[in-house]
């Protein structure tokens, strides 16, 4: 009982955290190399070497930071990523925690991420970190709203807020086809929520790293791993919500989930490398004026589809 309901799920989540973050690091390096970034050494070893380097580096101090919050924020973000990974089903029965409200739990992860990212920026008591935190708060609400409408859209045909039921409802037709606006909207939201690539406004280059501008050593390692793991958790949720999760011919269900998650990750990482960072003002306009109305249309579309 304890093994099945506690130990195995926890081990499963730890494995996904480690393997997922490592996969993101390798994929991103491969993509960067393919796009012309000069690199040396093995792509398989480089993420491990980087991790070892950060472990040897000291965690630095700033002037009068909020120490507890500053040290806690990366760990909290990693915990949120772990919660996200815990609700991703790998098959009808293989899921770390098959809550009946797992869609709602993912929504709370998105909301709490805003708090944690702001905490990370604010607690450093440093300029760029603070601006990065402010920027995320200014934009976070718009990401969450769109994400919620889109996810309600996939819950409607399933008549459930449980990801395993959402996947099961796609036996006949995947949501990516049934609700064509859903996945593109969700992927854009994902880039914003995980502040990656064109929507990385919290930890951006113009802020010399933003909320992470002042961190070094193990806290930076935890923060980097947490960001990568959150991207994996997001791709897992996108896979379950739109790409039919474990559904697919010939191959075992978990392998289908892994393949689909890798495909989503590849798209996100490619977008991250190919597009410029959006101006915050343009980002707000894009979210509220274009994407939010589109998410309403997606929801109406899903509702009408569910009624018919």
């Amino acid at each position: 009982m304890i093994v099945e309901e506690l130990v195995l799920p926890v081990l499963m989540v730890f494995f996904m955290l480690a393997a997922g973050a490592y996969t993101v690091a390798v994929l991103d390096r491969v993509i960067a190399g393919a796009l012309g970034t000069p690199q040396t050494g093995s792509v398989w070893i480089a993420p491990l070497a980087r991790g070892a380097w950060l472990m040897t580096q000291h965690a630095n101090a700033t002037e009068a930071p909020d120490w507890r919050a500053w040290r806690l924020a990366p760990a909290l973000y990693l915990s949120l990523a772990a919660i996200g990974l815990a609700v991703v089903p790998w098959s009808g029965s293989l899921v770390a925690t098959d809550l009946v409200t797992s869609v709602v739990l993912w929504g709370s992860v998105e909301a709490l991420a805003t708090v944690v990212i702001f905490l990370h920026g604010w607690s450093a008591n440093a300029l760029f970190a603070l601006i990065g935190g402010y920027r995320y708060v200014a934009l976070g609400l718009s990401y969450i709203l769109i994400s919620m409408f889109v996810l309600i859209g996939v819950a409607l045909p399933a008549e459930s807020l449980q990801f395993t039921q959402v996947v099961a409802s796609q036996e006949e037709l995947w949501n990516v086809i049934r609700q064509p606006l859903g996945l593109p909207l969700f992927l854009i939201v994902g880039l914003g929520m995980t502040f990656w690539g064109p929507l990385n406004l919290a930890d951006s280059a113009d802020l010399a790293g933003g909320t992470a501008a002042e961190i070094s050593g193990p806290p930076r390692l935890v923060w980097d791993v947490a960001r990568a793991a959150m991207l994996v958790a997001f791709s897992g949720v996108a896979t379950s919500a739109f790409l039919g999760g474990w559904l697919g011919p010939w191959l075992p269900g978990p392998l289908w989930v892994a393949i689909k998650m890798l495909a989503v990750l590849l798209v996100l990482l490619l977008l991250g490398r190919l597009l410029p960072r959006l101006a915050p003002e343009r980002c707000v306009t894009l979210m509220w004026v274009i994407l939010l109305p589109l998410s309403f249309i997606d929801l109406v579309w899903a509702g009408v589809g569910a009624l018919l």
Partner: protein, 423 residues
């Protein structure tokens, strides 16, 4: 590695950017090696000490073409750019393997002024409202918002002279409200920038237009490299740098231009605003002036250029977006002129009136225009403000030409020593 750029240190930065063994970072907190590249003027020693002490333990320092401070122990000076990447890698490995001791802190780890807060959390106390704890103004609501009336706490801080997004050497005191620049005061002008020797040669004798135009295109591509890095377009930034390093009359800008257009650089990136009025545009000159619609280019007065059918290209709006369109157009134009000039063997016909990539060089070299930023940047969001700075070539032109012999950036034409001297 975090680079601290001294005079002509940007050449080392560009060289290291293309080195596969080196990872450059934008914050000293993210580095284990500090590279002091180029001579640091004495008035920037204090900021250098502060940057030095921000690197987390263990860290080490290398000085490139700069005399290390005598009180520092275990520091390495490198003068040859070709061996610099290997020296940095060696220093890093020695540090990680414990064969090299970490650099010591230079400054005392204590606030420059005592904190005078009286409460449990350092709050309150006499003189704290509007005071300057630790020698800096507090974040507080002292000024009205200049954009939409939503007044936030304003935050005043000093940035530079080693902030990666500024021209090397520049420092400013800035007040932000949220993400919005309220005031900007340039405190230190950037170092004068060195131009390719061919521009100095052109002030002494008639030079091939092909050489002059390739040097001009390369200068603009180096600026584009920096701006694209800032915009988050790393691969395009590297493409611009590679194109600049391998520039010849057969080079084209088509691939890079297409990529910038398709990636949404002109529509999505933070390059809004930064308009220059006609008077401001004239003060800075060069491509920035032409981007504001001023049809002024000394090449129009040169018979050699007229023979090639030269006429200045211009934009109208004078903002950051127009300046980058202008730069791309001028690179294209320069490459085309270089091809024509090489084919027809055309040289310049003027020596006392030349158009440098920085602006017109008549009696005097183009002068520093960084004070202009104080007028342009207030009212812009932070990202747009940095993009505006990147789009404006504000540094003065240095007395001496670019030292091309050991930089890895080979000169466009072979010039004898006396041709490369100051005019």
């Amino acid at each position: 590695m975090f680079p601290v750029l001294g005079v002509q240190g940007d050449k080392a930065l560009r060289h290291l950017t293309l080195s596969p063994d080196i990872e450059l970072v934008d914050s000293p907190r993210h580095a284990s090696v500090l590279l002091v590249a180029g001579e640091i003027p004495a008035d920037r020693f204090e900021p250098l000490r502060r940057v030095h002490d921000q690197l987390p333990y263990p860290f080490t320092t290398l000085w490139f073409r700069c005399e290390p401070w005598p009180h520092l122990e275990n520091v390495t000076r490198i003068d040859d750019l070709d061996v610099l990447p290997a020296a940095l890698v060696t220093a890093y490995h020695e540090l990680m393997e414990g064969r090299r001791e970490s650099s010591p802190r230079i400054l005392l780890d204590k606030p420059p002024n005592p904190w005078e807060g009286a409460g449990d959390f350092g709050q309150g106390g006499e003189g704290m409202m509007g005071g300057v704890p630790y020698g800096r103004p507090m974040a507080m609501n002292m000024e009205d918002d200049i954009r939409d009336g939503l007044t936030l706490d304003s935050l005043t801080f000093r940035l530079g002279p080693f902030f990666f997004a500024f021209p090397p050497g520049m420092a400013a005191e800035i007040t932000l409200q949220g993400d919005l620049v309220q005031t900007w005061k340039t405190q230190r002008a950037p170092y004068p920038q060195s131009l390719d020797p061919v521009f100095f040669a052109a002030r002494k004798r008639l030079v091939p237009i092909a050489a002059l135009e390739l040097a001009r295109a390369r200068h603009h591509l180096y600026r584009l490299f920096h701006a694209l890095h800032l915009a988050g377009l790393e691969s395009a930034s590297l493409s611009a740098l590679r194109l600049a390093n391998n520039l010849s009359t057969t080079s084209t800008l088509d691939g890079l231009r297409r990529y910038l257009s398709r990636s949404g650089f002109f529509r999505l990136a933070a390059i809004k605003g930064g308009e220059l009025g006609p008077e401001q545009a004239r003060r800075i000159g060069g491509p920035a002036a032409r981007a504001a619609g001023l049809d002024e280019d000394l090449r129009s007065d040169d018979a050699g250029y007229r023979r090639l059918g030269f006429s200045p290209v211009c934009q109208a709006s004078g903002d950051t977006r127009a300046r980058w369109r202008q730069v791309l157009a001028e690179i294209d134009q320069s490459l085309q002129l270089a091809r024509q000039a090489e084919r027809d063997d055309v040289s310049t016909s003027e020596v006392d009136r030349i158009e440098t990539p920085r602006g017109p060089w008549l009696e005097k070299r183009p002068e520093d225009a960084s004070a202009l930023l104080d007028e342009i940047l207030p009212g812009q969001e932070w990202g747009d403000a940095l993009a505006t700075i990147a789009s404006l070539d504000v540094a003065a032109v240095a007395e001496a030409p670019l030292d091309t012999q050991t930089t890895g950036e080979s000169p466009i034409t072979e010039l004898s020593d006396d041709e490369g001297g100051p005019a």
